[in-house]
């Protein structure tokens, strides 16, 4: 069973074998086009007994289909001395002399290519295929034989951060970022190829940070280089005063995104469609629909976002208490006792249609005049990591205060009701939930919570992070302690980080 096939494969590879093999795969195994599918449907039956479902195989030396289960293809192989056949369901090559499936590298290559072509034609796109190391990677693995075993109790990845003078606003975000699975995988598999001339690349520093966190060292890390780089690139955050963790998050993502783009700035000519890791993970699309109240024409724009800032009850903006219960809250398993506001309440408020009032008329291109309109926000595209920012700090002209209203948030969140596509379905009178669950899954899992304790003037940030699916830890600067899920869900919550459960390919 070596990857070089079997000795009999060599004998079969006569001139033009590649073309013939491709044809067989394209027509009878991976049928992409409508034409080949019809042909496959009609002709793929056993030439001996007419069966169509008993592991049909096609002879590789002549046009003969027969079932495997009833040994009809074996009969053909024996009598015609055609030793090779291909499985019409999975594309495996069977050798009757070796009496097993054989794996020839060249033939596998052709099979893979034809399969990809068929998927593309059917609109399926890329599908999961397991990782195969490149030559370079095999070399690296051989030269670095030390392996680290991750068990359920292993605490690798957990490290405290020393507070360098009111820098907990930075520490709490670093904890959330170093525990974002996709970001961690990106940096630990060395994907950042720096092309910045100077040594002030924040992405390189992030990479270093991940190395520190996953080094296995348990003493707290001193992030002085990171702090210095942040001061250099985000001047508004410099100084020893306490800053807003949310502002730091956005500034950090922005600098990382800019520094990433400097790498493929040469390759991507389109500034609106960045493929850097930050955009891949954090960027979503927010759809804004403005409907003219007179002609009902809708003007739509889609803006990218890295986080969703939600107004809270008790703020000076009107918060309309929504009716308790309803299918949305139950869907997200939130306790709705005693009228406590939930995250989904906030999201419902965020995505409700809002009358813009007579003092804010919009120019309607349909009516060619200023009309009253309603505006509604929905999610067009969800990011892999969704960050919700509860607007607890009020900085209006009259008052500066912190809103400590408890907002309950769930462990699992389904964003389907807030999607632009769901809104369209509701408007077209379609009722949700068909069996089409596999084409868009909008479920998210909580993996980090940043909390603020104290007042606007003097406060402290801490982070709860999730490891190994159901273990939670509290990160309070240099001190890491085990936490229970209850503690996490009972906490006030300032920044909530959710990770998409099912990832899809582009």
């Amino acid at each position: 069973m070596s990857p070089a096939g079997c000795p009999h494969v060599g004998g079969w590879k006569a001139d033009g074998w590649r073309q013939n093999l491709r044809l067989i795969y394209r027509c009878f195994v991976w049928s992409g086009s409508a034409e080949t599918r019809t042909r496959k449907a009609k002709s793929c039956v056993c030439h001996a007994c007419g069966a169509h479902l008993s592991r049909l195989h096609s002879c590789l030396s002549c046009v003969f289909f027969a079932c495997f289960a009833k040994k009809h293809i074996h009969e053909h192989a024996r009598s015609k001395r055609h030793h090779l056949a291909v499985d019409l369901l999975y594309g495996g090559i069977y050798c009757f002399l070796c009496q097993d499936y054989v794996y020839d590298k060249e033939m596998e290559q052709i099979a893979k290519e034809e399969q990809k072509k068929a998927w593309k034609m059917q609109g399926v796109g890329e599908k999961f295929s397991s990782w195969e190391p490149s030559k370079r990677e095999v070399e690296l693995l051989r030269h670095n034989p030390k392996r680290r075993r991750i068990t359920t109790n292993c605490t690798i990845g957990l490290r405290g951060l020393i507070n360098l003078g009111n820098t907990c606003f930075m520490n709490c975000i670093v904890q959330a970022l170093t525990h974002t699975p996709l970001l961690r995988d990106f940096f630990l598999s060395d994907r950042h190829k720096c092309e910045m001339a100077s040594s002030s690349c924040l992405v390189c520093e992030m990479s270093q940070l991940f190395q520190e966190f996953y080094s296995g060292r348990r003493s707290p890390h001193v992030p002085f280089r990171l702090l210095h780089l942040v001061w250099t690139h985000a001047r508004h955050l410099a100084g020893y005063e306490q800053q807003d963790a949310h502002e730091f998050l956005i500034a950090a993502l922005d600098v990382l995104h800019r520094h990433c783009r400097d790498d493929d700035g040469k390759r991507t000519s389109n500034p609106n469609h960045c493929t850097c890791i930050i955009d891949q993970i954090f960027t979503g699309g927010l759809q804004s629909d403005v409907t003219c109240q007179v002609c009902h024409g809708v003007s739509t724009t889609i803006d990218p976002f890295w986080d969703i800032s939600l107004d809270l009850p008790g703020s000076s903006t009107p918060f309309w208490p929504l009716s308790p219960g309803g299918e949305v809250s139950v869907l997200n398993g939130e306790g709705h006792g005693g009228g406590a506001t939930t995250l989904t309440d906030c999201l419902r408020r965020f995505t409700r249609p809002e009358h813009l009032g007579s003092s804010a008329k919009i120019k309607c291109s349909g009516c060619h005049s200023y009309q009253e309109s309603t505006k509604q926000l929905t999610m067009k595209k969800l990011p892999v990591v969704a960050c919700f920012h509860l607007k607890r700090f009020e900085h209006s002209a009259k008052l500066r205060r912190k809103i400590s209203t408890y907002v309950s948030f769930p462990l699992e969140l389904d964003m389907t009701p807030f999607m632009a596509s769901s809104k369209e379905k509701r408007m077209n009178g379609q009722h949700q939930q068909s069996a089409d669950a596999f084409c868009s899954d909008n479920r998210y899992s909580l993996f980090a919570v940043v909390n603020h304790q104290g007042t606007l003037e003097s406060g402290h940030y801490t982070t709860f992070i999730r490891q190994h699916k159901d273990q939670w830890f509290k990160c309070d600067d240099a001190v890491i302690t085990k936490a229970s899920l209850k503690e996490v869900l009972d906490s006030e919550g300032y920044l909530l980080f959710y990770h998409k459960q099912l990832l899809e390919y582009e």
């Binding site: 049928s31 409508a34 599918r37 019809t38 496959k40 449907a41 009609k42 793929c44 039956v45 007419g50 169509h52 479902l53 495996g92 009496q99 097993d100 499936y101 059917q122 399926v124 069996a435 596999f438």
Partner: protein, 96 residues
Amino acid sequence: MSKDYQMKAAINQKLIEMGERERLKELLRAKLVESGWKDQLKAHCKDVIREKGLEHVTVEDLVTEVTPKGRALVPDSVKKELLQRIRAFLAQHAAL
């Protein structure tokens, strides 16, 4: 060939022609991974290989040993869903 068998063949043909068979396969694949079926079967395969010995085991051995268990372990909910899908498809293409 019995009438049942003819019907099965005709349905199968239609499913392949319309590309629905591929879509159903994808749905099934996703559901089987989600429900943990794939992991269960993988573990069973490893057991069979260990029993027979890595150098001697053939694909046939695995197919014979693993197929009955695989069939039995498919969750009822998955079977129901697939059946619903096929019914819906047939209802749409009623010219059978």
